[in-house]
Structures are given as C-alpha cells and as structure tokens.
Amino acid sequence: MVTRREVTAGLVASAAAGISAPAIAQAKPRIVVVGGGAGGASAVRRLSQKAGNKLAITLVEPKTVYTTCFYSNLYLGGIQSLDTLQFNYSTLGKLPGVTLAAVRAARVDREARLVRLENGAQLPYDRLVLSPGISLDYTSVPGWSKEAEAVMPHAWQSGEQAKALKQRFDAVPDGGLIVVIAPPNPSRCPPAPYERVSMMAHALQKSGRKNTRIVILDPKDKYPKQALFQQAWEQYYPGMIEWMPPMIFEEVKAVIPQTMTVETGFETYEKADLVNVIPRQTAGQIAVDAHLTADNGFCPTDPFTMKSLFDGNIFVLGDASIAGDMPKSAHAASSQARAAADIIIREFLMPGAEPLEYRSRCWSQLGAENSVFVAGRYQPTEEKIKLIESEISSLTDSAETRRQNYRSSAAWYSQLTGEMFG
C-alpha cells in the first residue's frame, strides 16, 4: 500500500527527474483516462487546456453520446427534454493532445501499467485516471436482477435507463402506486432519490394524476436536505408521498418483477404501477477488479492528490472514490478532476505547489421553479478531505429565492458541462 508520504516523495522525485520513461524514447507522457463522466471528461479537458501539446491523453469511453445523470430528474419531471442533457464526445476528441478510444476498458494491469480494452487492444500509461462511476449490486434487493431492470428500472446510470423510467412513469394511471426503494449509504448523489420523488409528484400533479401515491422505502433514518424536502412535500404535494424509515417497514424482503410486488416487514404492495429500485452501489467494476477498493467497495484516495492509496500511478475520481467529507456529486468529481489534472501536469512538466481546494455544489429541484442547494468548500488534510465551509438553502426562503435558485442551477449546469465538453 502506498502511503501519502511515499506518494508525495514520488511527486517530488518525478518532478525533479522529469519524465519516468521506458527505454524507447517516449516524447510525451501517456495519460489514460477511463470513464467520460463528470470526473473523466473534466480531467481530459483540463489536461488538454493546460498542457495538451505536451501530453498524450487518451479517453476510454464506449459511449458516443453522454447523457448527464445530474438534472436527469428534471427530464423525468417533464421540465427538461432529454436532448438538453446530451453531449457528444466528438468535441473532446478534437482538443489538443486528446485521442478518443470508443471502447469499454476491460481491465487494468497495474504491474505492466496498461489498460486492456474490450476489443483486445492495450493502452500503456504513465499515469491512469480512473473515473469509472459506480457498479450496481444487483443482489442487494432480493428478487431484483440485471434482467429485472427492464421492468423495475434503477435509472441510477443515465441514458437508456432514464428513458425506461420515464416511459413507465408516464404510463402510471391516476390512483396508481409508485414504490421507490432508496439506496443505503454510501451512494451516488445522496439527495437524488428525494429530488426524483419531488419531480414525480410535480409531474403527477401537473398531469391531473393527483390520487397517485408514492411510497419511499428507505434503509436510512435520514437523508440530506431532509427538512427542505419534507417541507416541500407537505406544502406542494400533501398526501402524495409517504417516506418510510426502517422503523416502519424493517426491510425489503423481496421484489417480484413478474407481478410488480414489493414485500416488506410492514406491508406488501401488489401490482404496483412503477417500482424504482435504487440498489446498493460500489465503485465501478474496473476499480474493484484492480484491487483499488476498501471494504466498503469504494477507493481510498490521497486527499492532496486524488491518487489511489494503493497505487501511486493511478488517480481515482468521483463516485468511485472515498473523498472524505465530499459528497458523491458530479461537481465534486469535476473539482477533483481539476486537482488531479494539475498534479499530473506538475509531476511531468511544471514543478511547484499551489494551495489545493475542492468544491461541490448540489442542486435539488422541488417543483416547477423551485430549487434548493447545498454547497461545500473542502481542503485536504493528512486524515481526509475536510469540509471547511458549507451553505444550504433555508426553510424560510421566499418563492423568489427558490426561483432564483432554479435559474442559478441552470447556469451551474452550463458551467459544469462546459468544463466537461466545452
């Protein structure tokens, strides 16, 4: 295991000695980025912007079109169309120093320092940036499976699943029942299940389906922005949403996709019109297979560099990482990506340290023009990335403030996707 001191020493040594290159002269350091989400795309963009002519950057991402997970609940709620959430990777491919490998990465060979792709090709790297997102634990909800996700969608990874969820949601009749199974911690985007439910309630109301009910079965006793969500639900969607903590329902005993049944320790729901299963998650499989994860299934990283504590040549960004006080949010991934990109550039090209700070801002849409946020500034310490300042919306915000928030969230969305795709 590589400790932080060793990582720092390596940093200084590399910077002083220049590029650690194999015998065959390799003019440019090879930076391979796996995963083109908020972390990976931001890393590629930053590396290219600052040192594209001096680095050989390869983005390994099988998708040609990226659909943002962030803001996808607004698509579900009918506020945003799907195409507004979609971005083409070709823009990244045109940046200086960037090559796109539109194939899935299969495995990381840490010894040989290369990434094996699904088509058999190999990508050697000097530094690897892993931003693989999450892997879903299909065994964590009894009766649910990969096959069942067509019938009981998760929509916890965007694109096709977001469409599947919306299709089923739009078909829920008035007076129907929606069951949302919320995930345990740690999870990608902790407030998202509750934003999703808010957006469902908003769309149900708008379409005259005011007798439809939403039950949320939550393995957690509490969740982020809880007071804000529950106030909004009482105020805008009274009687539509029932949140159940473990004290009431104990656990989900089983789901039966064929009959749309959900069995709990309190009651059994039969012929539910929609069941949205958001399961337990771990880091993306490629990180798990590379033995970069801790017992909880996520990757411990150095707070100062975002390097894996197990491998000084590999950075792990975003949802796959354990990043101290930072939430698993797209903005956090982008902030970490910028830090990692700067570290790489310093290691190979420009010695000298700058004070490091991470940020995250997370919006939750409660209704049509009603958004709340939680934001944090973080600094690395020996122990972990620590929260140094945070801000959260108030229960007593005026309607105008909430409307301003909605407009700010749109600007935030533009900025974040701009950092990813330009």
Partner: protein, 133 residues
C-alpha cells in the same frame, strides 16, 4: 408559511407545570424508562421515538400511562399512551413533531401510583449534504 410567535409557546416552566398536573405533585423518579430518540433530528416535522419501560406488565404491576412532553413546542404534552396487563410489554413507538432543539421527556405512571421518567436532548437542524460514505 408563518407560525405563531415564539412567546406563545411552551417553555421548560410550562413543561414542569404539565408534569405537575399529570403527577398530582407526586415525586418523579429517574430510571425504568428508556426514551429512544435521535440525538440529531434532521427534520423536526417527524421524529421517530420509542419508549420502553421496565415492567412485568402483570395485573398487579404494570404501566398505566406513558406521556411524552416537550419543553419548546407550542404545547407541552404531545401525547399519552394508555397500557395495561394485556399489553405484554410497555414498548411503544410513534413519530412526533419537535419545533426546536430541546429536551424531550417520557413520563410513565405505574399501577402502584409511582412516576418514572427519562429525558433526552434532541438537536433539530437541517444537516448539510453528508453522504455517509
């Protein structure tokens, strides 16, 4: 949404007055009662609470009533449970509203006329985004 002005609400004094009315001035002992309530309630709108009283629940020795009292809610007595020898246990749960950070009291009245209590502090706040990871 606005609420009644704070000065119209309960206070530790009003809570003590309510306790006095419920006990008829009799002494209250600490113990036998366990109030389980979160130390930090993210949301005061719905706080899940369990009270368990150490009692054999026989016809000769059982819990007759359990009250929950608040010191900084609009009213002091939030609810009363009525139990008896057919209850089997003196374990009850419900979800309550807490208007602010405060101490919550569970008061049990026994069949022998004695009173017992547990008191726990609860911080009511909006928490920032903690992903628990």
């Amino acid at each position: 949404m606005a609420l009644l002005p704070r000065h119209a609400w309960a206070s530790p004094e009003l809570r003590d007055k309510a306790l006095n009315e419920l006990t008829g001035g009799r002494p209250i002992s600490d113990g036998r009662v366990t109030l389980t309530i979160p130390q930090v309630a993210e949301n005061g709108l719905s706080v899940y609470t369990t009270v368990q009283v150490d009692s054999p629940m026989t016809p000769d020795d059982h819990v007759k009533k359990i009250h929950i009292l608040a010191e900084r809610n609009p009213i002091a007595r939030l609810l009363t449970w009525h139990l008896g020898p057919r209850s089997g246990t003196a374990k009850v749960s419900t979800n309550i509203r807490l208007a602010a950070t405060q101490q919550v009291t569970a008061l049990a009245e026994m069949s022998d006329g004695s009173f017992w209590r547990d008191i726990k502090p609860v911080v009511v706040t909006i928490a920032a985004c903690i992903d628990g990871g």
